[in-house]
């Protein structure tokens, strides 16, 4: 964690290209408190040689961002990272206008440094994504983009102004915005995570904004152009963010809070179709006011990486390696 930052939240992971010193980069927001005026976007990289995380540093500052955009940014929030077809890192960051998270917009930044090692990593804003007629409020990002075969990606976002609904934004391989489509008609579904079971058959799993809810689901059969609501999953969802990943066709993983009314337990579950899930592993089991939340997943270095917020103060991580080929199948083992 950067120095003097008692709060941290909403991590996102990015795999780095083979041959680079870093295997992956993690981004999150950090500062004196969530929605504080000095919150910035922090980053750290996992070094292949030392097998350790680097000392974190800040990479996006709202005052610098405001100067670059030409207008004020009141607060910074969730970041989401993606690498384009040219190897440049893109960041999509929640930036607010007047008001709280309901006045959020999504700022699109792109790597401006020639290299992407942590000491040199720098970003420049490309602009604010135009997502709403109402003064371009109130959309937020949370979960990782879904990579596409053409090199582009689909970025899941959600609208939050009274009602909440999820949407999908399409980008080309160079990161140019191509369009948007609404994922669900329900007014309480937010923070979608996208899972591709085939090239065109996708499942979106969402946080339920109601108390005592379940993980919400929607399906697309045409590669994200149109969506249809599905019945809620059997998985409990205590109004908390879920993070999903398609490791391979028919091998889907979901990180989610499974205890009713609390974020004290963080579990991994697996599925073949994105609808029926079975418990795989408990990442964290706390009690009382403990919170393990906002998970992010990534497959890299033949491992499943999981990062998550601990008590809104730090970002913790776990790494799970699969058994070598030919060995008897067994549950993924943790490798802290």
């Amino acid at each position: 964690m950067p120095a003097n930052t008692p709060a941290a939240h909403a991590s996102t992971l990015l795999a780095m290209p083979a041959g680079q010193a870093a295997a992956l980069t993690a981004f999150w927001f950090s500062g004196e408190r969530e929605s504080g005026p000095n919150v910035q976007i922090a980053a750290s990289q996992f070094d292949r040689a030392t097998q350790r995380w680097s000392e974190a540093r800040f990479v996006v500052n709202r005052h610098v961002l405001g100067a670059q955009l030409g207008f004020g940014v009141r607060r910074l929030g969730n970041p989401v990272a993606w690498m384009d077809g040219s190897g440049r890192v893109h960041l999509f960051v929640v930036a607010t206008g007047w008001g709280g998270w309901a006045a959020s917009r999504v700022v699109h930044l792109r790597q401006s440094s020639s290299g992407n090692t942590l000491p040199e990593l720098a970003f420049e804003p490309l602009g604010v994504l135009p997502l709403s007629w109402l003064w371009n409020t109130s959309h937020l990002v949370r979960n990782a983009p879904l990579p596409l075969a053409d090199g582009g990606m689909v970025l899941p976002v959600h609208f939050e102004l009274g009602i909440k609904y999820p949407a999908a934004l399409r980008f080309d391989p160079e990161g140019r915005f191509l369009g948007m489509s609404r994922i669900s008609a329900r007014g309480y579904a937010l923070q979608p995570t996208l899972l591709a079971t085939t090239a065109t058959d996708w499942v979106a799993l969402m946080r339920d904004g109601r108390p005592q809810g379940r993980v919400i689901a929607a399906r697309s059969a045409d590669g994200g152009r149109t969506w249809a609501d599905l019945p809620d999953l059997a998985l409990l969802n205590p109004d908390s963010s879920v993070g999903g990943l398609a490791v391979a066709p028919g091998q889907l993983v979901l990180a989610h809070n499974s205890s009713p009314g609390s974020r004290a337990t963080l579990d991994l579950s697996r599925s073949v179709d994105g609808i029926q899930w079975e418990a795989l592993h408990t990442v964290e089991r706390g009690s009382g006011e403990d919170e393990f939340s906002y998970p992010a997943l990534l497959w890299a270095e033949d491992s499943l990486w999981v990062t998550y917020t601990v008590d809104r103060q730090t970002i913790d991580w776990q790494r799970y390696t699969a058994p070598p080929p030919g060995k008897p199948a067994k549950p993924l083992t943790a490798k802290p």
Binding site: G72, V73, G97, W133, W135, L161, A185, G187
Partner: protein, 216 residues
């Protein structure tokens, strides 16, 4: 969802960097020009000059920094209307006051009502209360065709109603500028109408309908 990879959505290059401060400056100048209509000319010019100085101050010292934080960018319609107000104030002509002509004209009211209706549809769409994704459609080439249809309709009916040239020229000029620049956001609805203009049009529409109803 418009998924044509060859269809460029965003405004070109550094246009946005200049459009935001310039557009808000024009809007503020136009509004000041309108409210200062009865001021002595030297005072009016002094106020306008002072506003220009304020607008060119850097960063948070300029009003566009805060207007952009709160409201992003005005629509091309708002900017062009305010530019016309400013022009009319700086270079008054003996031609009839088009704003006065607009009050009470049936065709003006119809155009205003259409714009108000569009705003309501866009608001309902923002809250996901429409069965179609209206705002998203504004990015596609079909939206440009629809907007050109609006232009043709305004010419046909506006020509018949002898609408003043500012009203007649507004819609086609917005479409031309949008097609060339994709300002302000690449979405045609943002070019045609912003929430502040929509609110002002509603007030104008209600006042005029009330006036017609009461016979004033």
């Amino acid at each position: 969802m418009n998924l044509d990879p060859g269809f460029v959505l965003a405004p070109a290059g550094g246009l946005l960097r200049y459009y935001l401060p310039l557009s808000w400056c024009v809007v503020l100048l136009g509004l000041l020009a309108w409210v200062s209509g009865r001021w002595p000319k030297p005072l009016r010019l002094l106020a306008l000059g002072g506003l220009v100085v304020w607008c060119v101050l850097p960063g948070p010292y300029s009003p566009d920094y805060w207007l952009g934080l709160a409201f992003q960018m005005p629509s091309l319609s708002t900017v062009l209307l305010c530019a016309w107000l400013l022009w009319a104030a700086l270079f008054p002509t003996p031609q009839p006051d088009c704003l006065a002509q607009a009050n009470g004209s049936g065709w003006h009211l119809a155009l205003g009502a259409a714009a108000v209706g569009l705003g309501w549809l866009l608001l309902l769409d923002t809250l996901a209360l429409l069965p179609l994704e209206l705002y998203a459609l504004g990015f596609g080439p079909g939206a440009n065709v629809f907007a050109m249809g609006l232009v043709l309709l305004s010419w046909i009916f506006g020509g018949r109603a002898r609408l003043g040239w500012p009203v007649l020229a507004l819609a086609p000029l917005v479409i031309v500028v949008f097609a060339a620049s994709r300002l302000p956001t690449g979405n045609v609805w943002d070019a045609l109408l912003d929430p502040w203009l929509w609110l002002v049009l509603q007030i104008w529409l209600v006042r005029n309908l009330w006036g017609r109803w009461t016979g004033r």
